[in-house]
Symmetry: C2
Subunit: 254 residues, 2 copies
């Protein structure tokens, strides 16, 4: 009997409402302490994009937004708020699909998602929307370094958001910022259980970690972070969420 | 200090090689016992598609396959094995994309994935490939019922495979068969933390559970099942993996 791989996930709850310039690493350390834990080497901290955006002051009051004629027209056709449409268009680098009231865009970071990730839930104020963080990789790295300094532990940090995808219903949490861990594991060239070389097995583990964390964070439970313990990874391999973005020249669904 | 949500994942290792007609519920019970555990109400068992396919005898010896002229031509153009291409085409209901050596198809179940899910890794024999299970929902339900009968516990069962997706690199584990749990959670109409109605939040939790399980199963660690404990779900809501398939009329990426 060998010890099977085991992983533990802890939703980090009871945080105060995040306001601009709040120190998220500090917040995480307090949340972990409140959960009766401390950070260990090899832990993974998953942070929802929304508190990152809030700490960065990436909230937009729709009263301050003047929609373009294009935003007005499309919003009217599909019963949308033209100011919200305007913000989505401003946050996009490219419109991927725009049909039946659904706006799928590519953001300046390169993410393809609905509404450029602009979102009105869990945001204070009646007519306020939340943008994606400006540079989630940089924020993940800052939290990673700050936790290293404060605790001595190598903690991988993943900033996550829930995105839809073609072909399958429902949204799933994915990684939009990564630090202290490689977002992809390349099994190509490794032998399988029968000694044969594996063919196409590049696993998007950062996305899987983000999805796993969602299961303890939930949407309405005010758990904007999760601690994952026991996931085995090589902490000398570090990467960026940009590695998760498909090269447009090889993407057959661009 | 409230108790934060906590979830535990256990890779179930040390199984014998699965052969046709093997009882997977029985195998799962033994694996859980070998891990020093028993099944509890509310556990989720994730099973990799490959052992389901093996138990169903869904292995094809490529020596027995006669490729069509079409398979020959495409395989030659892209340096593929024409017999493998033939099997992929036979397993598909529709070719979604066929370019640059990549064959993305829709299977008869309705899944859109590379190569109809036909796969040559972790399969015994030099020239043998593994097909997707015939009816993963039915298999999940059979395992779910069998575990209920043997242990009295309500155990959700998810059959999982790793699929690629547009826009993002790497494959992630998703649910292709589901029993004893609703694959989607619909938050629409619920209030967020600020009392505002949530807008577009249908979470594909079965896919997130499958992804989470992959992190303890791995690709080469001979852990074809995982036990997830502590995920909170309503066991009166039950569903099918078909709910995860987007209606073609609303899929903008068909």
């Amino acid at each position: 009997m060998t010890t099977p791989p085991e992983m533990r996930l802890l939703g980090l709850a009871a945080l105060p409402e995040v306001t601009p310039n709040m120190d998220l690493a500090d917040l995480a350390r307090h949340a972990v302490r409140d959960a009766g834990e401390t950070f260990h080497d090899g832990d993974v901290l998953v942070v929802t994009h929304k508190i990152v955006a809030k700490a960065e002051g990436r909230l937009v009051d729709l009263h301050t937004v003047e929609p373009s004629a294009f935003a007005h027209e499309w919003a009217a056709a599909w019963g949308k708020d033209p100011r919200h449409v305007e913000v989505v268009l401003r946050e996009s680098a490219r419109v991927v699909r725009m049909d039946r009231g659904v706006l799928i865009t590519q953001t300046r970071h390169g993410f393809v998602c609905a509404n450029s990730g602009v979102d009105a839930s869990n945001v204070p104020g009646e007519e306020v929307v939340c943008l994606l963080p400006l540079d989630p990789d940089a924020t993940a790295l800052a939290i990673h370094r700050s936790l290293k300094e404060a605790t001595g532990a190598h903690v991988a940090v993943i900033i996550a958001d829930s995105f839809g995808r073609p072909w399958r219903n429902g949204i799933v949490n994915v990684a939009i910022g990564v630090a202290g861990i490689a977002p992809l594991i390349d099994y190509r060239g490794q032998a399988d259980d029968f000694g044969r070389t594996m063919q196409v097995s590049v696993l998007a583990v950062a996305d899987e970690l983000a999805s796993a964390a969602e299961l303890v964070m939930g949407k309405v439970s005010r758990c904007p972070m999760a601690l994952i313990r026991g996931y085995s990874f090589d902490n000398r391999q570090q990467g960026s969420a940009r590695e998760l973005l498909m090269d447009p020249t090889t993407d057959m669904f661009r």
